[in-house]
């Protein structure tokens, strides 16, 4: 039951990304291109997502368990620090450069696009580097 539900959520999310236009890097870059011919479509993607999300998370905050009776893992972190901002800036720069963010890159890779495959492999390497750095830097208390 759990695994089926997670699979369906992944499927719906992928379909949403495909319909929204997020899997088209050119469209993403046109949204980020305020000085050129601006395509505001992606604002509607975020708007649509938040419209539903606000209701769902409002409901989730009032509950202690999920519908299947398990734990509700709502984030507890509230601090705003250098990591959050620097990480966001680095992510945004990469997003603008290629026009891919993680979800659409995975969907496009599954659709058989070689450029998305290369992007995803580099992204996984970046995530792996983060894990490696966390392990080593923390041990040496540099970060």
């Amino acid at each position: 039951m759990h695994r089926l539900s997670e699979f369906i959520v992944g499927l719906l999310f992928g379909l949403g990304l495909l319909l929204s236009g997020m899997t088209d890097p050119g469209k993403v870059q046109s949204f980020l291109d305020l000085a050129g011919a601006w395509d505001p479509s992606l604002a509607f993607v975020m708007g649509g997502g938040i419209l539903v999300g606000v209701v769902a998370f409002g409901l989730a905050k009032k509950r202690t368990t999920n519908f299947l009776g398990g734990a509700l893992h709502l984030p507890t972190a509230t601090h705003i620090d250098k990591r959050l901002v620097l990480g966001g800036l680095l992510f945004g720069a990469g997003w603008g450069l290629a026009g891919f963010c993680p979800g659409p890159a995975l969907v496009s890779m599954a659709a058989g696009q070689d450029k998305a495959l290369v992007f995803v492999l580099a992204m996984l390497l970046g995530m792996g580097l983060y894990e490696w750095a966390e392990q080593n830097m923390h041990a040496k208390q540099i970060l």
């Binding site: 495909l18 870059q29 011919a37 519908f67 800036l89 680095l90 603008g96 450069l97 891919f100």
Partner: protein, 145 residues
């Protein structure tokens, strides 16, 4: 500012966005999880992988979506990808996205959709950061270089 009316797809984008919202809603309410792609993926790369099975089930759903879209939707509903970036740029961008999303604890889905829906100030700051960097970089590559 001039609007690119030829590529503007408000209804399809809104519909897609609502679907992203529905998926995020199901994930928190039914499974009790935040739908954040970078976190779900990154959790599989941690030295001690925790609860791999739900992450993999979710990812299999993502991977099945292009085939499902081909079966369910007319082909003109999905915009044909235009990828301007060359191979070197894609590799650099992928590294930046991988590192940045993990360091900043989230991407467009976890911070942008779920975080803003939770009215989290932390996610708002993250979202403003990545959007600002995206605007600046696209300005540079399309209008400066």
């Amino acid at each position: 500012m001039q609007i690119d009316w030829n590529h503007f797809t408000p209804w399809m984008s809104l519909t897609g966005g609502i679907l992203l919202g529905v998926a995020s809603a199901m994930f928190i309410l039914v499974n009790g999880r935040i739908l954040g792609i970078s976190g779900i993926l990154g959790g599989l790369l941690a030295p001690k992988v925790r609860d791999a099975s739900w992450r993999i089930a979710f990812l299999l759903g993502i991977f099945a979506s292009p085939l499902a879209a081909r079966l369910l939707f007319p082909s003109d509903w999905i915009s044909v990808p235009r990828i301007d970036a060359g191979w070197g740029t894609l590799i650099a961008a992928g590294l930046m996205v991988g590192l940045g999303t993990r360091y900043g604890s989230g991407c467009t889905s976890g911070h942008g959709v779920c975080g803003l829906s939770r009215l989290s100030p932390r996610s708002l700051v993250a979202t403003l950061s990545f959007m600002a960097a995206g605007f600046v970089i696209v300005f540079v590559i399309r209008h400066v270089i």
